[in-house]
């Protein structure tokens, strides 16, 4: 019996495929906005959500998603109000999320073992009903990330310009935050809350070593995400190691390979076209051509009566409407 015939492995692979697609999709926008750690921040907040679920006896996935959405929106609003920068807003929720989670878990009387399944994922325990939720949420994330691509791209590329084109920037930013929160909870079962951000950021960082356009970065990142998720799950089954960690280590290995390949490609390009980036200096007056006066009966000096003009490091003499400058044994037109 191969691993593909095992029902729990089929579910694990499907969950991995969807996580591998949706995490880099939303991650591309986060990286473009230079908020790469937002996924991590939301992951930490979701810990509080999971703990809340365990404490109140409701489904941890449900409470995690709600708390993550609230937290992500809070990051966005704090950032938008201006006074606190994005990274400070993030760190506030990092600490709040993990402290709240540990506190509530203690109150719920649950130990570290329960929390661990959410922190580092527990793919093999994904149930059929879990899978429906994962499929539904991942589909929503992908539809938004692809369908609203041009709008989200503009907002992440240049927020002020996007506002002047009349886009609802605040709403779109909030949408990205909510999508990130949804993705985090989707990925909670596969790679776990502590490593989910890696799956949002590392494939994007890997892709952009080799790409030039946003679109190709987006698709390459999703491709890498799917690849490492499936390969990681299969490897972890065969080698009997933790799937979440295996996925992330594989993703990082891809990054190292791509970074080296990218550097080599760029160097090769630079050697082949060494002057490609240099622009012609149109409009900048070039050095005056060296014109020697035809014949010159006398040497200009203090006394010759021709007006003197200071010209940088030397003196020119006005001679019948021309400027003459001494150059060795002759006179140049200046």
């Amino acid at each position: 019996m191969t691993l593909f015939e095992l029902e729990f492995m089929q579910r694990a692979l499907l969950a991995g495929l969807l996580t591998g697609l949706s995490a880099p999709a939303i991650g591309t926008y986060l990286v473009q906005r230079r908020l790469a750690l937002m996924g991590d921040g939301i992951g930490h907040i979701a810990i509080t959500g999971v703990a809340l679920g365990l404490l109140t006896g409701t489904a941890p996935v449900l409470t995690a998603i709600l708390v993550a959405i609230v937290g992500a929106s809070a990051i966005e609003l704090i950032r938008a109000r201006g006074k606190t920068s994005g990274d400070v807003a993030l760190s506030l929720l990092f600490y709040g999320g993990i402290a709240g989670g540990v506190l509530l878990i203690g109150l719920a009387g649950q130990g570290a073992a329960t929390l661990n399944t959410y922190l580092f994922g527990s793919l093999t325990t994904v149930s059929a009903s879990d899978l429906y939720v994962v499929v539904g949420l991942a589909a929503v994330v992908l539809i938004v990330a692809i369908g609203l691509g041009p709008q989200l791209f503009a907002v992440c590329q240049d927020e002020e310009f996007a506002r002047v084109t009349g886009l609802r920037v605040q709403l779109l930013n909030l949408l990205i935050a909510v999508m990130a929160a949804v993705t985090v909870t989707v990925a909670m079962r596969t790679v776990g809350l502590l490593l989910v951000s890696a799956l949002m950021v590392v494939p994007v960082a890997t892709a952009q070593q080799l790409t030039r356009s946003f679109r190709s970065t987006f698709t390459t990142a999703c491709g890498i995400g799917v690849l490492v998720c499936l390969a990681g799950i299969i490897t972890s089954y065969n080698a009997n190691v933790a799937p979440g960690a295996t996925i992330v280590v594989l993703a990082l290995a891809c990054f190292v390979v791509a970074a080296i390949a990218g550097a080599l490609v760029r160097r090769r390009r630079a050697v082949q076209a060494p002057l490609a980036d240099e622009e012609p200096e149109v409009g900048v007056p070039g050095p005056e051509p060296h014109v020697v006066t035809d014949e010159h009966p006398h040497a200009h000096s203090q006394k010759c009566g021709h007006p003197k003009v200071e010209h940088g490091d030397h003196v020119d003499y006005v001679h019948d409407g021309h400027l003459h400058a001494a150059h060795g044994d002759h006179w140049d037109e200046h």
């Binding site: 473009q32 200096e281 149109v282 409009g283 900048v284």
Partner: protein, 253 residues
């Protein structure tokens, strides 16, 4: 300058505008009327409020007092953003993820695009034309981060022009830009002006754009100290507002 009747909507109408940034009044009691087709330079030293004025006109900053109207509509209610082209003050056009010149310029069409729809053929050709105008057509597939500062600025101009705006607002378009690029986009702006586009340009140093200007406004400490035809002393890097209208002289004393 033809006299227009008082009820034709001005392209920009600023009435008694004051703006405060973090509790400090940056603009105080600005009154401006800019007619369609005018090419206006907003001049002044650092901190005189030039950028704040432009950013308030496009709605990025809120007025503490007074009002800005675009084509007769107060800015908070203004919705026809495709009539406005804006070039923000930028050092770079690049974000955290690579993006091509074509992708960045296409984002200038968002005011005309519906959700979940790809670019139409007409929009694609508008992008190509806009790139042609700033002489960047051959770089359309290159990443913006790989371009020089002047080329990136040209991309931002193309992004503002692609929606064929009636009012073009440029915030320091020539800052740190090589002469070759300055010439190219002075040419691009000239072509727009010939078609009747209104242009408002904030600048320290107008460079090759100088010849296009038909009115200059000099700001000093958040007030207008000169508003009239441009003259030579203003087009250099340092602005010395020697000439002050008689009725405005009181502000300087």
């Amino acid at each position: 300058m033809t006299p227009s009747s008082p009820d034709t909507p001005k392209a920009v109408q600023v009435t008694d505008l004051s703006v405060d940034l973090g509790g400090r009044l940056v603009l105080r009691g600005i009154d401006l009327r800019i007619r369609p087709g005018e090419v206006v330079a907003v001049l002044g030293t650092n901190g005189s409020g030039k950028s704040t004025l432009v950013r308030t006109i496009v709605g990025l900053l809120q007025a503490a007092r007074g009002e800005v109207r675009l084509f007769g509509t107060p800015v908070p209610r203004f919705r026809q953003w495709s009539r406005i082209g804006y070039v923000p003050q930028r050092i770079t056009a690049a974000g955290g993820v690579p993006a091509t010149v074509h992708e960045v310029v296409s984002s200038g069409l968002l005011s005309q695009r519906r959700l979940f729809r790809p670019l139409s053929a007409a929009q694609k050709s508008a992008v190509d034309q806009s790139l042609e105008l700033v002489d960047m057509a051959d770089r359309r597939k290159d990443a913006v981060a790989e371009l020089s500062g002047g080329q990136q600025q040209r991309v931002l101009i193309a992004r503002a022009l692609v929606s064929d705006p009636e009012l073009l607002m440029l915030d320091e378009p020539t800052a740190g830009v090589d002469l070759a690029s300055q010439d190219i986009f002075a040419e691009a702006i000239r072509e727009r002006v010939a078609r009747g586009t209104t242009v408002i340009m904030v600048s320290h140093d107008l460079g090759p754009m100088d010849a296009l200007i038909d009115r200059s406004i000099v700001l000093r400490r958040g007030r207008v100290v000169y508003d009239g035809p441009p003259h030579a002393s203003q087009t250099h890097a340092h602005v010395h507002p020697h000439v002050v209208d008689d009725e405005q002289r009181g502000w300087l004393s």
